[in-house]
Amino acid sequence: MTLDLLKDGQSGTIGGLRHQQASSVRLMEMGLFEGSRVTVLRRAPMGDPMEIQVGDYRLSLRRDEAALVDMAS
């Protein structure tokens, strides 16, 4: 299960990140790493990108970026 598959309004804990050079580093720096709680708030009109709550702020990321984030089952 990856972050992009979470439904709107659903929360979860991150299990880990799939390694992909610069992308995964920046995702982690933005607070998306193992153990972080995230909530999917909504998706844009055409289903992409998605808006998530991570820590104390809101982040927009594309689905293929969210697909790099594994959720803890």
């Binding site: 992909q20 607070g31 289903g47 808006e51 104390d56 927009s60 970026e65």
Partner: protein, 662 residues
């Protein structure tokens, strides 16, 4: 800044009020974007500390010292690389409403070991989230001076100055978690988690959380990013922006234009008619006018952009539109610059500063001039009115409206594959991330907004203006020289004869004006511009153009709207305003050297298509050069658009001719 005792760098995440703080501390009429993009720059100002002035350097907003964007690369270079720009102390602005991620960056900055002061901003936003960060406790945990401020209200600035003074005097280096700040050691999961761990520990005693339920900002966000309501709101906002630059700016532009000609007239009145007067009136003053006429549009667009950005809506509009642009390798950030370009490419290209990705910004900049700007509209309307029959298709749609719509759609349709190709060629190895923070909504700060507007206008006039002016003067000279004495004498004699005739004064004046026009036309026809038109006309023959049309197109390289004036001059139109019937009649009755009409529907169509796609705008090209940081991109834009325009014009001419419209 030579009197400054030492240099302080102001660093922090994007969207935390850094620019507002910089402006408040320095009072300098300067602005740095969060995303200066291609030509990344820093701004410096003087900060008066209790012990005397220091130089404050505003760094671009960054999330980390591991550089992903050009902005962050610059921050890295200044802070980590040992350049002569290295600061003696750091002022780090921290967003109290999002402390953890802000402390992540702070931890890296502290590991640089410079004397550091923290400005704790946005306490009000934090409170609305149920967050409270105690500056005293945080200060103790970090071992740094932490000063709570409200940048937009200018609160706490004095305390901040004192803190910086003392810290700099003590020269005590900051101590972070002691992890690597660059290289593979910094960009690895263990280090990143280590820094977040550190941030949490530092915050444990300083932070209190309470439940505040659903915030106002969140409720607003729910509507503004909604599938239906959000899109509707976006259409409304964009409609208003478009309307304002397209229509509402018109009176201001007219005012600007008449102001310039009024001042010009006053300056020129005492001058004797002659070549110097013509240079001033048709070269310099017309050139100044063509620069200043853009100012109202730039001001209005940037008023909107600054408000939308400052209140947090800009990121939402990018969020809503991203999917459409993702297919082209762009992102939602390109939406506003491209939409604005339908009014005018100049402010549109300036608006690409809001795009953080360098290549994406460049691509957007290079396709922006393809959007049909308002300067093309008069060209379309005159030609359509003159040569297209107002028949209705299916008894409903006016053919002329359809052609007008098609011309607008053409630019857009061509931009899609061009953007795609450019983006494909430019994409280097590094994956493009579309991570975008969606900041809390807040009321825009009037100071920040107005500062941005004036800064933008000033920059355009000073930097682009000089170049545009010189192009205008050069093209004027090409159209004004050589001036054969025989021709001038001939017209002088005819004017003399007219003056001596026994006719009413009103008829005399009309006759004089007519002679002036004919003289202008005759001079233009044998000028260098006219000769060049004839020489290179074979190049434009596939488009069905007569040499006079070619010459008018050449003369309109500085600004496409000039074509109406030059068409008028060369076909000796009796004026009547640019949209007036005089020019229309002149075009309809214009004959080639062999007596056939210059214009047919096919020629009119090819000319309009050429204008729709060609980069005949010195201002746009100059702004592209400025914003991309290289002449090459302006040259590239001009070349690709001219080639496209020529090809499309030729195709349209031949297809239309094949349908018997030639």
């Amino acid at each position: 800044m030579s009197s400054a005792r030492f240099r302080v760098a102001l660093a922090g995440n994007p969207n935390v009020g850094k620019t507002t703080l910089f402006n408040a501390l320095t009072g300098l009429n300067q602005r740095t974007g969060n995303y200066p993009g291609v030509t990344v720059s820093t701004h410096s100002g003087v900060w008066e500390l209790p012990g005397g002035p220091v130089e404050l350097m505003d760094l671009p907003g960054a999330y980390s010292l591991t550089a992903l964007s050009p902005d962050e690369a610059l921050v890295n270079k200044i802070l980590v690389g040992k350049t002569d720009q290295a600061p003696a102390a750091l002022l780090v602005i921290v967003d109290a409403s999002n402390p953890e991620r802000n402390l992540y960056f702070l931890s890296q900055l502290m590991d640089l070991g410079l004397p550091t002061v923290v400005a704790l901003n946005m306490g009000d936003v934090a409170e609305s989230k149920g967050l409270k960060v105690d500056a005293g406790r945080l200060s103790k945990a970090l071992g740094l001076r932490v000063v709570p401020i409200r940048a937009h209200k200018h609160d706490g600035l004095q305390a901040l100055g004192q803190a910086m003074e003392q810290t700099a005097l003590e020269a005590k280096p900051a101590h972070g978690p002691g992890l690597a700040v660059q290289g593979p050691g910094a960009a690895n999961p263990v280090a990143i988690r280590g820094r977040y761990e550190w941030a949490r520990n530092k915050l444990v005693d300083a932070i209190t959380r309470s439940d505040v339920g659903v915030r106002f900002s969140d409720r607003v966000d729910k509507v503004l990013t909604h599938r239906v309501w959000g899109v509707l709101a976006l259409v409304l906002v964009m409609g208003m922006i478009f309307q304002s630059i397209y229509a509402w700016s018109q009176p201001l532009m007219d005012l600007m234009q008449s102001l310039v000609s009024w001042i010009g007239a006053i300056l020129l009145r005492p001058m004797a008619p002659g070549i110097l007067k013509e240079l001033l009136s048709n070269g310099v003053i017309a050139g100044v006018g063509s620069v200043l006429v853009f100012v109202p549009q730039i001001a209005i667009l940037f008023l909107f952009i600054a408000i939308l950005e400052d209140c947090g809506y800009m990121a939402r509009s990018a969020f809503l539109m991203d999917r459409l642009f993702a297919k082209l390798g762009l992102s939602g950030r390109s939406f506003i610059p491209l939409l604005s370009s339908f009014a005018c490419a100049v402010p549109g290209i300036l608006a690409t500063r809001t795009i953080s990705d360098r290549k994406e910004r460049l691509t957007t900049m290079l396709v922006a001039p393809l959007m049909s700007c308002s300067a093309r509209l008069p060209v379309y309307t005159v030609l359509i009115a003159a040569f297209l029959p107002g028949r209705r298709l299916f008894g409903l749609i006016d053919q002329r409206a359809l052609v007008l719509f098609a011309l607008y759609a053409l630019g857009l349709a061509v931009a899609v594959p061009i953007a795609y190709l450019l983006r494909k060629r430019m994409r280097a190895g590094v994956a493009c991330l579309f991570l975008m923070e969606l900041p809390s909504y807040k009321w825009p700060d009037l100071h920040t907004v107005l500062r941005r507007v004036t800064e933008q206008c000033r920059e355009f006039v000073v930097n682009a203006g000089t170049m545009i002016l010189s192009v205008a003067v050069v093209v004027w000279a090409l159209g004004a020289f050589p001036r054969p004495q025989a021709l001038l004498d001939d017209f002088q004699a005819r004017k003399q004869t007219l003056a001596e005739q026994a006719v009413p004064d009103s008829a005399k004046a009309a006759g004089q004006a007519e002679l002036d026009r004919q003289e202008q036309g005759a001079l233009l026809r044998q000028s260098w511009l006219g000769r060049t038109g004839r020489i290179i006309n074979p190049v434009f023959e596939p488009l069905g153009w007569d040499w006079r049309v070619t010459m008018s197109a050449l003369a309109s390289i500085p600004a496409r709207e000039v074509v109406l004036g030059s068409l008028g001059a060369i076909f000796n139109s009796n004026g009547g305003g640019e949209n007036g019937g005089g020019l229309r009649q002149a075009l309809i009755h214009a004959r080639r050297d062999d007596g056939t009409p210059v214009f047919s529907i096919a020629v009119a169509l090819s000319l309009m298509v050429f204008f729709a796609l060609c980069a005949q705008c010195a201002s746009t090209l100059q702004v592209i050069r400025r914003e991309s940081g290289h002449w090459g991109w302006a040259a590239f834009t001009f070349t690709y658009m001219t080639v496209l325009a020529w090809g499309a014009g030729a195709i349209v001419f031949h297809v239309a001719a094949a349908f018997g419209l030639g």
